[in-house]
Symmetry: none
Subunit: 202 residues, 4 copies
DNA sequence: TATGAATGAGTCTTCATTCAT
DNA sequence: CATGAATGAAGACTCATTCAT
């Protein structure tokens, strides 16, 4: 008699969930396939059936994050909207992404490895690129062409703008600070937009 | 024939140096006492004679960083200096600290562990506090009292100001970006100071 | 070519046998899991798959002894048999148990740890209770009620009687003396029974 | 300025005392020179100055026990004293020795090693011989010649007699039972003497 | 003599990974 | 696919012993 066991794909999800939990708590090196399989309620061999090895399992998680990032940051300059509105939209998009605990957790997991100067660290680092910054820089470039803002370097400005968001909503959270409330978030957005407008507005 | 036995204190330094190197590359969990002792050219037991265990060794390194941080961030409001000058001084102090590769390395080492949600991570996190932010917040408070700046929350402003530095000179470096050149640094300082003055100056 | 893989249960037996051998020679502290696994022709990790740790492995062996003890000492007073016969039977049962080298070996292993005043020593000590003495004391009690023997304390008498056996057949063997021959054994039994009868018989 | 430090011989005593404590708790293998030196408040090197190595230190302790044993068991047959009196004296001598906790402790320490079937175990075993039994056997021989007792084998009788004492006052204590009270002791002596007299008296 | 420091070998235990079922 | 069992290699930490001062 075989019990109605969760399907292949269910197990895969269980494993990924367990792995995220473990990597979150103990990092890549500190997590063991043993602990992950136990946490996922599957045999260790099953983990290996789904993922070639520990690194691959980690890379899969990193990939989940990458996909979410790629999805999240897509905006382009729109002549018919005001600068204010567009800046606000961009900031909010960034903030929305960072206001999801799951995203923060994934970022924490991956960050820890990216900082490392070893093999897998470099591998992950290469794979992750700051889409957000690039997108925003592009937007600023267009705004400049459209004669709405005045500045020298778009990438510099992009770093300033996004940095002003992240200084409140990302970097502290990286180290464990609580996610911003809706209200706090709006305040941060307004301040960032205002600062850009005041400093670089025409 | 007796070989020139290096002194106790020399070995301790060698061990710390080797440990920093290892932790930098592989993080806490990924580094082995074996590798550290080999790197330091001492026997493993010698490492244990100097440091009770791996965690203690790590905490010692974290402590080195903490001491440097405590030393580095000391400024108070000075009525006889211009706001511009003082903001610039503070920014430069921060930047100087972050322009030292050794400091960045130490921060990277400690950050990786601080992000972790396990025992030692929490321990380290508790021990490290953001002196810089507190100092700067205090300074802004005084500037407000002195009627030179106008704003609501000093801690908010402090996060904005320091965040503007760190967005260029710290967070990217955390992920491996090169340290800012002298010229780039000055540009960042000027931009940050300017932004604060423009936005909150009276 | 696949080698004839011995079954799980076989390996377990091999490990236990090897462990007994090691503990016999070197005691708990003096035996290494390395030596045990080598002796058992399995990898060290396999030993850990079967037994959580060294202590658990030892406790399993202690448990084997305990089971044998529990099995061996079961007799109750029988009105229809003569005192002489019953005393002789009890003594012989005890002696039979002690005439098995395997039993002596197990006792030696466990004794060494029981004498120790540390954690595992106390644990083992608590687990082992002298069934034999209790059973015999009960028997004497019944014999007294049946008006066949006259004495004050049954536990005192029990200690005397069993002590007289053990003085020849157990304590010397503990220290390495050879097991009693059949003939010697019978002589010891006769002397013990005789002494009890002569001294306390009615 | 050199502090008034305890003399050589004091340290030696401290070390021995500490070693006894450690060996008592953890046996030979389980005790570390580190723990012993710490317990004795001397440096590890000092321990090695006094005793060549761990084994030698242990053997010294075994020797202390041996000396005490040799001192304690000296009696010879005395025609002018009654059998009763002499048996009682012998028994009491044995009991006195076993009523000293320090002696029991030493015996426990040494026993653990003697039971072991390894190098040092055999060494210790060879060194320790049962003086008491030999002395008593001799005494019985004389008593037989003097026509006061009737039996076949003096060594058998000796084992019975001493065994009757030890069954109450030694073997249980080996496993941790409390030392007999004065009153209990006298009862044991009387019972043992009585049994011999009743069974083998002329 | 006393000691702080050093060390090679060894201890228990865990790990990532494989394989036959 | 899923798994229980197996393993070589490595990890943290301890030990008995030595040696220069």
């Amino acid at each position: 008699m075989k019990r109605n066991r969760p399907l292949n794909i269910e197990k895969r999800k269980d494993i990924l969930k367990a792995a995220i939990q473990e990597f979150y708590k103990n990092g890549f090196e500190g997590s063991s396939m043993d602990a992950i399989s136990k946490e996922a309620n599957v045999s260790k061999a099953t983990v290996y059936n789904h993922f070639k090895n520990k690194e691959e399992l980690f890379l899969e998680i990193a990939n989940i994050l990458k996909c979410r990032l790629d999805e999240s940051f897509k905006y382009s300059y729109n002549k018919s909207k005001s600068i204010n509105k567009q800046l606000t939209d961009m900031a909010r998009k960034e903030l929305d992404f960072l206001s999801c605990q799951e995203n923060i957790t994934l970022i924490q997991i991956v960050t820890v490895v990216m900082i490392q100067k070893n093999n897998i660290g470099e591998k992950i680092l290469a794979q992750m690129t700051e889409n957000c910054m690039l997108m925003t820089a592009q937007w600023f470039e267009e705004a400049k062409k459209d004669d709405k803002l005045d500045f020298e370097s778009s990438s510099f400005l992009s770093t300033q703008f996004i940095g002003m968001i992240k200084s409140f909503a990302f970097y502290p959270q990286l180290y464990g600070a609580p996610i911003l409330s809706k209200k706090e978030g709006e305040k941060v957005i307004k301040a960032a937009v205002n600062m850009i407008k005041t400093t670089y507005g025409k």
